[in-house]
């Protein structure tokens, strides 16, 4: 499978990706994930703002989607731990994210993710995580 096919397979197979409404595109080996705004993602109606858990989950799925491209496996890789930093409120807009695979070991990958909305240089949140790689 090509990297683009691996990404499509991952996005298409995971029901929760559809629940979020998440998409992703590859430009060469660089993947950008997008989460269009939808009413069911709201955590604060008054602002309105995206639910913190949604932003965290979107970044975690971005890391897993990136790993599905760079570390082909028939199975989904598993999250070991994640640390999420919230930098700005997630507004009622499309959110984007990119994952940076910092280290791939024999069993474990370290991945950093940054999410933004209108400006890449004004991130709304960041995630650092470790993932257990499934055997291919």
């Amino acid at each position: 499978m090509t990297p683009a096919q691996r990404l499509e397979t991952f996005l298409g197979r995971v029901p929760y990706v559809r629940f979020l409404g998440m998409r992703a595109e590859l430009a060469g080996d660089e993947m950008t994930a997008a989460l269009p705004f939808a009413p069911h993602l709201v955590g604060n109606v008054a602002l309105p703002a995206l639910h913190g858990g949604v932003i965290g989950a979107f970044m975690e799925m971005t890391a897993l989607a990136q790993l599905s491209v760079t570390q082909p496996s028939a199975k989904v890789h598993k999250t070991i731990d994640i640390t999420i930093e919230y930098l700005r409120p997630g507004r009622a807009l499309t959110t984007y994210a990119r994952a940076d695979v910092r280290k791939i070991g024999r069993q474990i990958a370290n991945v950093h993710v940054e999410a933004w909305q209108e400006a890449r240089l004004k991130p709304v949140a960041a995630l650092r995580g470790h993932f257990m790689l499934s055997d291919s």
């Binding site: 629940f19 999250t79 994640i82 999420i84």
Partner: protein, 147 residues
């Protein structure tokens, strides 16, 4: 806040916030500084199609939400409604949930300063002593402007 008023405020927060309602959260319990939320398993929330295990993202969302619940439950009376924003959230996934298992999440706000709340939480799919995930978080409190 009376236990009845606290429960009403908590139920509103757990069951009417759009994302919480979309995930099917139900309020299990609330007391000052503590709360617990039930999330029923659903086909569309699965993260691993090979096993039917619920997505880590759902666990992340319920842990974040139950931390917020534990914080708002510290409010002494209705004149000081607290609005919270997550500062950071660290989650350790100790093991995958069982296939098709519902998730329960509990949180304890163990320290509240004027501006910051520190919270611990855990999620389990059966035995509370055998968690699927634990969380440690800090939240910023947004109090109403003093007039």
């Amino acid at each position: 806040m009376s236990p009845e008023a606290l429960r009403e405020t908590a139920r509103h927060m757990v069951e009417t916030v759009p994302q919480a309602s979309a995930l099917g959260f139900k309020l299990l319990s609330v007391e000052p500084g503590k709360g617990s939320i039930f999330t029923p398993w659903r086909e569309d929330l699965v993260g691993d199609p090979d096993t039917g295990v619920i997505a880590g993202g759902v666990v992340t969302a319920v842990l974040d939400h139950v931390c917020g619940l534990a914080i708002i439950s510290t409010a002494k009376d209705r004149t000081t409604p607290l609005s919270t924003a997550t500062l950071d959230l660290r989650i350790d996934y100790m093991r995958p949930a069982a296939p098709r298992a519902d998730i329960t999440a509990e949180a304890h706000c163990y320290k509240l300063t004027r501006n910051i709340a520190f919270v611990r939480a855990h999620a389990y799919d059966g035995d509370p002593q055998d968690p699927i995930a634990t969380a440690q978080a800090a939240f910023v409190l947004k109090r109403p402007e003093a007039r």
